[in-house]
């Protein structure tokens, strides 16, 4: 370039610089404020990430022939995309099933991707119309079932099919385990793991202190007094698990009052929390709080620390929880702590559902999205998991039963907790119920607040009742939330 060109360039630069300098301060400041706004909006923008997706592509690729060994017609050699929640159960049990699947008739390869943030990972894929073929929708960040239930396959076909050993799957399951996955008549999820809710204690410690596990609330309150005399607390709680006591209270009230109590609570009926059976339990709990049977400070304590004060330091005698507790506290349980579960206490001598009734539910919901590429493959992997072989592997490695019957031997692989679980299930027979409303409508966050206040002694039973009713009413009156009728 000649000298002229470079002069021109210089002029241009000068003009630009001049412009920058003389531009009104206001305009620049506005621009900078805009940049500031951008910084503010980044969190908002990330919420939007999901809507960048496109339209829904209808699911289903080329399918294979339907045969007895391939009941859903999985295309030969196809890939199954499975996103599995990686929590206390890990994902090895699904990989185990995937190995069996690879040797099966369809020769399908399953790609098992572990995830701890199901919603965060899959929300964009759902919105974009490319969900995986099989999802274990579990963990703290699971997707609210009501938001995706109409985008899921009906899994009735899976339980109607025969398992790998040739038995019809639904005949191999514990009673009632399919109810939690049923939404308005559609089997939207198959919940794989069986959880028993109970009050857990150390049989060895009770023996040592000469105490008897309480069956009724009267015995419970008396035990509280005895525990105090021995310098121990009856209960302990952690801040993010304060609602375990809601499960505990509701299970006790439902045992006493039967389906009247359960259905009113589950279907968010007005004044449901004022039912006498619930009020009796709340009053008893209030007494426990007032008399100092609860280890104080729970609302500022992490739940694992609180649980360790029961299982390791043995400061508290009892802890209400699901049967995952044994696995969860494995590393923080005192040697010789014979962890044992018992049904929640009841008020009268003749509770409606019987003294052996328990709250038990299947959890770890596996779902197959309709828009998936290979939904047949997702179902086939699920069918494989429900085989005797895969279910027995789960029970043996995780020390927890699946919904498939007869996979836990009498010695419970040496676990007292597992033995007591099987005992409770056998004793309860058909008197098994579930409590679902909290999960269905995502109420835990709000309920935690009031339960922490109650267990802390900040509010009484009346205050607790009012708060919980308000939380239920809020959902009941919100037309934008799809209600599921729970039976």
């Amino acid at each position: 370039m000649g000298p002229l060109a470079s002069t021109t360039r210089l002029h241009l630069l000068e003009a630009t610089l001049n412009r920058i300098h003389t531009q009104s301060a206001l305009g620049r400041r506005n621009f900078l404020r805009g940049t500031l706004a951008a910084a503010v909006l980044i969190p908002t923008a990330s919420v939007l990430a999901g809507c960048a997706g496109g339209g829904t592509t209808p699911g289903g690729t080329a399918s294979g022939a339907v045969t007895a060994g391939n009941p859903f017609g999985v295309a030969s050699g196809s890939t199954v995309d499975a996103v599995i929640f990686k929590g206390g159960y890990d994902v090895k049990y699904v990989e185990f099933a995937a190995e069996i699947l690879a040797k099966g008739e369809a020769k399908a390869t399953a790609k098992v991707s572990p995830s701890t943030d199901i919603t965060g990972e899959l929300q964009p894929r759902f919105a974009g119309g490319t969900p995986p073929d099989l999802i274990d929708n579990s963990g703290a960040k699971k997707i609210g079932m009501t938001t995706i239930v109409d985008q899921l396959e009906d899994l009735q076909g899976v339980v109607d099919a025969k398992n790998l050993e040739g038995k019809v799957i639904k005949d191999t399951l514990y009673p009632g385990v399919l109810t939690p996955g049923t939404y308005g008549g559609k089997l939207a999820s198959i919940n794989y793991v069986l959880t028993v809710f109970a009050v857990w204690y150390s049989a060895s410690l009770f023996k040592e202190l000469g105490l008897t596990p309480p069956k009724t609330w009267d015995e419970m309150l008396k035990l509280g007094e005895d525990a105090k005399a021995q310098g121990k607390y009856l209960f302990t709680w952690g801040t993010e698990a304060a609602t375990y006591y809601q499960e505990f209270a509701l299970a006790s009230a439902i045992k006493e009052g039967g389906d009247d109590v359960r259905l009113a609570i589950e279907n968010l009926k007005p004044d449901a929390w004022s039912h006498p059976a619930i009020q009796d339990v709340f009053t008893a709990l209030e007494t426990c709080v007032k008399n100092g049977y609860f280890k104080p400070g729970g609302s500022g304590t992490k739940f694992t620390a609180a649980q360790a004060s029961w299982s390791n330091a043995q400061e508290a005698l009892l802890y209400p929880s699901g049967s995952w507790i044994e696995n969860e506290m494995k590393d923080q349980t005192k040697a010789g702590f014979e962890m044992t579960g018992m049904p929640v206490p009841h008020k009268s001598s003749s509770p409606k559902l019987g003294a052996d009734a328990i709250h038990s539910a299947s959890d770890e919901p596996f779902v197959v999205p309709s828009a998936a590429k290979n939904p047949a493959g997702g179902k086939e992997l699920l069918r494989t998991m429900l085989s005797q072989e895969a279910a027995a592997n789960f029970a043996k490695t995780i020390l927890a039963p699946t919904i498939v019957k007869g996979t836990v031997p009498a010695d419970g692989f040496g676990s007292t907790a597992l033995v007591s679980q099987t005992k409770m299930l056998d004793a309860a027979a058909d008197n098994v119920f579930d409590i679902r409303f909290g999960n269905v409508y995502g109420l835990n966050k709000d309920q935690l607040v009031t339960w922490n206040s109650f267990l802390d002694g900040k509010i009484d039973a009346a205050g607790l009742t009012a708060d919980l009713q308000k939380i239920s009413d809020k959902v009941a009156n919100d037309k934008s939330i799809t209600k599921i009728e729970i039976k």
């Binding site: 021109t8 360039r9 002029h11 241009l12 000068e14 003009a15 001049n18 412009r19 003389t22 009104s24 301060a25 305009g27 400041r29 621009f31 404020r33 805009g34 500031l36 706004a37 951008a38 503010v40 909006l41 969190p43 908002t44 923008a45 919420v47 939007l48 809507c51 829904t56 919603t119 759902f126 919105a127 119309g129 960040k141 699971k142 997707i143 609210g144 009501t146 938001t147 985008q151 801040t239 993010e240 304060a242 104080p296 400070g297 609302s299 500022g300 304590t301 992490k302 620390a305 004060s309 409508y441 995502g442 966050k445 709000d446 935690l448 607040v449 802390d456 900040k458 934008s480 939330i481």
Partner: protein
């Protein structure tokens, strides 16, 4: 802000020259504009303005986040928001954080910065306290620790049974017992503010130290010769000369305070803390979207409200600075 300002007359070229150049677009000019104007503008529009427009639109729908259906419902989400007890509570908490946190953090940081740079002996050269470098490193240290770690660490320190804090108080004879600092509605928000301040004071202190070091030392020396004490120097020399830095710091700290998501999530394992006394807007937004009911439309409306509040906050800081006699043209933010 995207309007093209009128072409200025360049001193020696004149308007005509500018016009003539415009007619002949050279590769130089085009590439210059493409790289320095077009590209940033495109990135800005795509990643900032467009999501914002989308956010405003989504906030007017009942989108559930998982489907393609986005039913338009007008301002209903906003009506719901301002009747929602939790959201109003979150807005109150966030506002308290936004008002208190920047104030205490900046005042503390400024005092420390001043002591470290100007608080030294009153004879000889103006300098900081003996060993000021050490204090600088020590107080900057918390800023290096990620927010989530700060939250977890202080959560343990304030643990009612096994925490250092209660153990210390009990040991020195304050009968605090097992008081749950983070589990009591009366102390939770205050304790959280202390923790967040702890994390940021060092950073702003270093920022102010740099600003103070930028002031010519003669000014301080002259003031001292005239008999000004340390307090007077701070109020009448230092602060007026670094007020633009203070304003910037104030806005940044305000944005951090209005967000506070990571701290509150790490400190309060049951979201919202005791009696929702530490529930902040960003948390309420998160749980509305991802809490199970899939109310993405409502959550987005919260995001829009949060950004408006943040903008209002920034505007307020600018306004106060202007009214109290700050420079009319701020060039720093």
């Amino acid at each position: 802000m995207t309007a093209v300002p009128p072409v200025q007359t360049v001193p020696d070229g004149g308007l005509a020259a500018a016009r003539r150049r415009r007619r002949k677009p050279t590769f130089d000019r085009i590439s210059f504009f493409a790289v320095f104007l077009g590209l940033p503008l495109a990135v800005y529009l795509l990643f900032v303005i467009w999501p914002f427009i989308q956010a405003v639109y989504i906030s007017l729908t009942a989108w559930n986040g998982f489907s393609n259906a986005m039913p338009f419902i007008g301002l209903e989400n906003y009506v719901t928001l301002f009747q929602d007890e939790n959201f109003l509570r979150a807005m109150l908490n966030s506002s308290i954080l936004g008002l208190v946190l920047p104030l205490i953090t900046i005042v503390l940081a400024l005092s420390l910065a001043s002591v470290v740079t100007l608080g030294g002996p009153s004879r000889g050269q103006v300098r900081g306290l003996h060993g000021s470098g050490f204090y600088r490193v020590v107080s900057f240290f918390p800023y290096v620790i990620p927010a989530i770690v700060v939250g977890i660490m202080w959560g343990m320190i304030f643990d009612p049974n096994a925490g250092l804090f209660n153990a210390f108080l009990n040991a020195v004879g304050v009968p605090i017992g097992q008081f749950p600092w983070l589990g009591d509605a009366r102390t939770a928000l205050g304790t959280s503010m202390f923790i967040i301040t702890w994390g940021f004071v060092g950073f702003y202190m270093v920022l102010f130290i740099a600003a103070i070091k930028g002031i010519p030392a003669e000014l301080f020396e002259a003031a001292r010769v005239d008999g000004a004490g340390r307090m007077r120097i701070l109020v009448q020399i230092t602060i007026p000369l670094i007020r633009d830095n203070i304003q910037t710091a104030y806005v940044y700290m305000g944005i951090i305070a209005l967000d506070a998501f990571v701290y509150m999530s790490a400190l309060y394992l049951s979201p919202g803390g005791p009696e929702n006394s530490t529930l902040v807007m960003s948390q309420e937004l998160y749980y509305t979207a991802f809490g199970g009911t899939g109310k993405f439309g409502l959550a987005t409306a919260m995001g829009v409200v949060l950004s408006l509040i943040t903008l209002a906050f920034a505007g307020m800081v600018f306004g106060v600075n202007k009214i109290t006699g700050g420079s009319a043209q701020d060039e720093r933010l």
